[in-house]
Subunit: 461 residues, 2 copies
């Protein structure tokens, strides 16, 4: 045996090594994720029922649970080349600091102006909207990560982009708003007087600072009531996980080049798009019985959909206007405590990941906020990159697993997804630096209150 | 002739192709940059006189104008591998938008948490401080770009880092402050009561919001009055240009791999560290008579050191406590108008670049602020990256040169330095988006007032 090929700090693929198709995990799942239901009829939603809301090609992808590979259109591949491939980084400095025999790798998706992996799906959704000859798209955004990605994608394809931004974020977090405006998006604080639903809410609650549920309602209303517009969404949906499979496909190619077999794959989970994308090809091997991996979803203890939620049909939005999805859920009325920083605040979870978790194909861990920021600080100081709070959930568990290896002496290969950077999350870092950040774990009573909002009908436990 | 090698969107070097030595332009200059003078004696500063302020190895580099190559210590090369090589990007989408036959390339230094090229010198300066057995370093920072880079470098080498941050930035721009704190730096608003000079200023001007000159004075006082500390600086100095040559060396290697010969090389110029680094190996060829390139420094019309300054010995700081440097200067009392966004606000310029410009080896252009942000917006929408205001000066001139090629039909190769990202400059972007950004060009009277502060002694015109 010759010496192992030296692994560089960063493994970059060549352009020609980038994936040409997305991988659709559903094709290899024995138990398919349950279909979306029409909340009125409780019947699976048909293509035609989704057409007023979504682009045709995206509906087809949403409903497709049979084709394992779906070609990435040439125009999207070209755009991917402008900010991808993203590197797989060997965390040499973190390993050294931890004094662990484990080998730690992370796929870093934050080196683009959207600051996260969201751009991978935004550009795909904008492409299909353009292909359909639409004028523009609408969406909602909280802190603005998804809205930023979508505004970049729309600038590239010369599409109008209307973003409804939760009013409190619009006012208190003006920076991502200005990035979106620089890319030509119109950003409207929600609730607004530009929609019927917005006007109604404003009349009833004149001083409201808005909510994501309300912003969704406004974005959907604008999409369905304006000729040439559709609504787009940045996580949870099957189509989004499909687009995000580019993360996992690149990761696998990069690791294969150096003969690296992951033992553990770790990702943070909010709606599930990053995790679903990262694990896709590895889960495919697992589903086909070719290989085995430990796969760990990490969620905040303050919003523990997997670890303490119910597997049931529920609304995806707090406004209860969206279709019903079968998923691990805390109830659509569940809102994380106000001390919760960053994203990962969704009450539910991707249907695909929910089914995989239900079938025992992956694990889930909930971690507390201050422990997450401790990991973020340690990572920043050793690896250089200031991580997003969301990504830092995965860092926490990667460090914990590496420390277990230190005890056992095992040289495991740990791979995690570093979804983004924390440059727009410095209010949370300041709280941590000032030692005023706190943890919050919902009580069983809190959870029961959320579960009470899950719709009851035969078969929905 | 076979088909040209296809040029990818991004050219990344392999680790083993990264430079192992910095290149020192001074060795190849016939007219060496003038030495720093002791303001009391007007004699060239000696090694011993600089020892209380700077680390020994850095003083040696500062004074070395004979060795063309200086080896990059192994520990620095290892750190460089964590965030370098930075890509040379082919601006295919910008070219298409401009419909120019020119080929545009940019070296992108913004993909690290400091957000700019500053880290290249920060890590070197921290290394030499550690090597000398020091406890820590002190510095000043305005908006925080340099302070952030230094805090990252000090975290890596486990050095104490004391940053004096201009009070108005400390209070109004808290985000970079929090990044520095996350990396373990102590950040003190200046003027402060931690120094004699700070106390004096506070007593005289209780409500002052501080200035860079005052922050320098505090940082130097702390370095010289505390055992085991030295002062470090992020631009202007010869040593900093030396470290930044890594930018140009990587750029040249990447272009050479694809047989690309630049016709024009463009960089923004504040203190000159980015520009000096980018052009280093190209200027070397020019100095040795091997090749010729057009080299263009771009500065703000509101702070036009090259295009409207005097070539004379002047103080580097507004407090007039630092050595005298021979450079293009607007006078150490010159302060850009308050509407000036971003960096590039230094009244002087690197002595090396000043000499090269004086000898006709490079050109300089001054551009106005709104035209710079127009270029920034166009770049962001086509190339994806939201550029720093500083970098956008270079983008402006690169676009202008590409548009000239459109008129003439010339297929020139234009290379520019994209020094950083604008994620912490969104107040300026907001002004631009809201159409309230203005231009300002100092009058001749404004300049005369600045020139009046340049010290007069024989030989200093």
């Amino acid at each position: 045996m010759s010496a192992e090929k030296k692994i560089p700090y960063k493994i970059y693929l060549q352009e020609e090594e980038m994936p040409t198709s997305w991988y659709n995990m559903r094709a290899d799942m024995k138990n398919k994720p349950a279909p979306l239901l029409n909340p009125g009829t409780l019947q699976p939603l048909k293509f035609e029922e989704l057409q007023p809301i979504f682009c045709d090609d995206l509906i087809a992808q949403e409903l497709n649970d049979t084709d394992a590979y779906i070609e990435i259109p040439e125009a999207i591949r070209e755009y991917y080349k402008t900010y991808r491939p993203s590197p797989v980084v060997r965390a040499y400095n973190l390993e050294k600091k931890l004094q662990t025999p484990a080998k730690i790798y992370y796929k870093f998706e934050g080196n683009n102006t959207s600051g996260s992996h969201k751009l991978n799906s935004a550009i795909a959704q904008a492409y299909y909207a353009k292909k359909q000859g639409l004028k523009g798209v609408t969406t909602e955004t909280g802190a603005g990560q998804w809205g930023t990605a979508l505004s970049m994608a729309c600038a590239y394809f010369d599409l109008d982009c209307k973003v409804y931004m939760v009013k409190v974020s619009y006012e208190q977090k003006p920076f991502r708003r200005e990035v979106m405006r620089t890319y030509g998006a119109s950003v409207t604080p929600s609730p607004s007087d530009t929609t019927t639903v917005g006007k109604k809410i404003l009349a009833e609650h004149p001083g409201t600072t808005g909510s994501l549920g309300c912003a969704i309602s406004e974005a959907v209303e604008v999409a369905t009531s304006n000729e040439g517009y559709r609504y787009v969404l940045g996580s949870v949906l099957n189509q989004v996980l499909l687009h995000q499979s580019v993360i996992g496909l690149e990761t696998k190619t990069a690791l294969d080049k150096y003969g690296i077999q992951p033992d553990i794959i770790i990702g943070c989970a909010g709606g599930g798009s990053n995790l679903g994308g990262l694990i896709a090809p590895f889960m495919g091997e697992k589903l086909r019985g070719e290989k085995d991996y430990r796969i760990i979803a990490v969620e905040p203890a303050s919003c523990p959909s997997f670890t303490r939620g119910k597997f049931a049909y529920d609304f995806c939005d707090t406004g209860m206007i969206c279709p019903l999805a079968k998923m691990y859920t805390l109830g659509s009325g569940f809102i994380p405590a106000p001390n919760h920083a960053g994203g990962l605040r969704f009450h539910g979870m991707s249907s695909i990941l929910s089914q995989l978790y239900h079938d025992g194909l992956m694990e889930a861990v909930a971690v507390e906020q201050t422990a997450v920021f401790q990991a973020a600080e340690q990572f920043a100081r050793t690896e250089g990159i200031l991580p997003a709070p969301e990504s830092s959930h995965a860092i926490r568990v990667a460090i914990d697993e590496a420390l277990k290896c230190k005890e056992t002496g095992e040289e495991k290969n740990i791979v995690f997804g570093l979804t983004g950077t924390g440059y727009f999350d410095l209010v949370a870092y300041q709280q941590y630096n000032d030692h005023v950040m706190t943890d919050y774990i919902p009580t069983d009573e809190d959870l029961q209150a959320g579960f009470a909002g899950i719709p009851r009908f035969p078969g929905n436990e």
